[in-house]
């Protein structure tokens, strides 16, 4: 987060009353700057083995009870085919975002405001929502 915030502080600040051009330009500049700063980032840097095990355990608890089929269906329902499972790649803006059931979200460790968990099929991604970059991912996070 420190690295990310340092990178962001060097960019012109995006106003809350921005034009589409300003939004697009800022997003691209931010994306490029973080990508260069994390050039050597690789899968598992953030979702380490220990973190991954903890997250999987928390997710599994959501799949107990009569509604578990619906929980899975709700996540897998999103059209996410074609999203690259690659660190430092942007989540394509043409792809749907799967809604994470809030009952599950409340069981997961809280992230800094700038980051989101996201699912692509059964895999979990960590996304920087302000520039759309995939910061890390974890395969087969859903049971």
């Amino acid at each position: 987060m420190e690295l990310r915030n340092r990178v962001e502080s060097k960019l012109p600040k995006l106003s809350k009353d921005s034009t589409p051009e300003q939004i697009t330009t800022h997003k691209k500049a931010f994306e490029d700057a973080v990508r260069s700063a994390r050039m050597n980032a690789k899968p598992g840097d953030i979702f380490t083995t220990g973190t991954g095990e903890y997250l999987r355990r928390m997710i599994r608890t959501e799949f107990k009870g009569p509604d578990r089929g619906e929980v899975k269906e709700a996540i897998l329902d999103a059209e996410t085919a074609g999203v690259p499972l690659k660190v430092n790649y942007p989540y394509p803006e043409t792809k749907e975002v799967s809604a994470i059931p809030p009952t599950m979200l409340l069981k997961l460790p809280e992230l800094p405001e700038e980051l989101n968990y996201r699912f692509v099929g059964r895999h979990m991604l960590l996304i920087d929502k302000e520039n759309g970059l995939i910061l890390d991912y974890m395969l087969n996070a859903l049971p």
Binding site: L14, S15, K16, D17, S18, T19, P20, E21, Q22, I23, T24, K27, D67, E70, V71, A74, D77, A78, E93, T94, E96, V97, S98, A99, I100, P101, P102, T103, M104, L105, L106, E110, L111, E113, N116, K129, E130, G132
Partner: protein, 314 residues
């Protein structure tokens, strides 16, 4: 010279009968308004205001707004709904529009903001009608900084109009931070009306999506505890007025740009009124203890209308 008119007894009786029959027919119109027939010709576009019918009372000092969901295709049908909204705006000058998410399908390049939003509602924007957006599962978070969406850089936010508080929520990512914010804002909110709007419906008779039960499990107790009156959602591409649930009025209005024809499950116990044969939008008016609503098809026909009484305060 003074003219005096003596009223004949038969005339008095006639006047009385006219007044009584007027009152009776007004009552029937009010109750009938919950059972409007669906639009008959979805391919025809109403071209004159003679075909438009306003059921809202236009009372002085009321809060007047429109509701659209799942709009951002940039396709002809979105534009046709936008054009019909403009026509109704001339009959019912709503002050603002709430957007129920999926404001932009597909790419979000500068041209897309024009094609999928600005041009579709150009005349309303020119008339200073404000839009307040919430995010859907097809929206980038960066929309929060887009000035015409009035989100002020926030994924979830509150604004007030008269005695009504509106809460825009991000139901795609309902995390602890958002839930705590919602609880704390509602707890201190003394507004007469509390209206929440967001994308995913806690209650819906949609065959493709339907009720989002996990979302409901988290937000419904908060709504009930803090006296939320009305919940407006989209995601399912049709219109549905849900029977009140735990005292709260729910609407699904996700047909502002996309339609999922025939998606409402027949015989759903949730449905008070549904419409899934054409696109639509809604207009609403809140005054004192009443919320008047009207759902209108792309072609300008009224598909549902009525008045909801404000629930007793918690």
């Amino acid at each position: 010279m003074r003219f005096t008119m003596k009223r004949h007894p038969a005339l008095s009786l006639t006047i009385a009968l006219v007044i009584v029959s007027g009152l009776i027919s007004a009552l029937f119109v009010r109750s009938e308004s919950f059972a409007q027939a669906p639009a008959k010709n979805p391919n025809a576009i109403a071209t004159s205001s003679a075909q438009l019918r306003l059921t809202l009372p236009l009372k002085e000092g009321s809060v007047r707004f429109a509701i659209i969901g799942d709009t951002g295709t940039g396709g002809n049908e979105q534009y046709q709904v936008g054009a019909m909204m403009e026509k109704y705006h001339s009959l019912f000058p709503f002050q603002f529009v709430v957007m129920l998410g999926d404001n932009m399908y597909g790419s979000e390049k500068p041209k897309d903001f024009e094609n999928k939003f600005e041009r579709a509602y150009q005349k309303l924007l020119d008339n200073k009608v404000k839009f307040y957006a919430s995010l859907g599962n097809h929206d980038q978070t960066t929309q929060v900084n887009y000035e015409p969406f009035n989100m002020n850089g926030k994924e979830f936010y509150r604004f007030t109009k008269g005695n009504v508080a509106f809460y825009a929520l991000n139901s795609t990512y309902m995390d602890r931070r958002q839930i705590e914010w919602l609880e704390s804002e509602l707890a201190k909110d003394s507004s007469e009306w509390k209206v929440c709007f967001f994308h995913h419906p806690p209650y819906s008779s949609g065959g493709k999506h339907g009720s989002e039960k996990q979302l409901r499990e988290i937000v419904e107790p908060i709504f009930v505890k803090h006296g939320v009156n009305v919940v407006l959602t989209g995601h399912d591409h049709f219109y549905e007025r849900v029977k009140p649930q735990k005292g709260i009025y729910y609407f699904v209005s996700g047909g502002g740009g996309k339609l999922r024809k025939g998606d409402v499950r027949s015989n759903s116990p949730l449905t008070a009124k549904a419409f899934d044969t054409d696109l639509h939008f809604m207009i609403a008016e809140i005054v004192d203890d009443s919320l008047f609503f009207q759902a209108i098809s792309r072609t300008g026909e009224t598909i549902d209308s009525g008045v909801l009484a404000r629930q007793p305060k918690k």
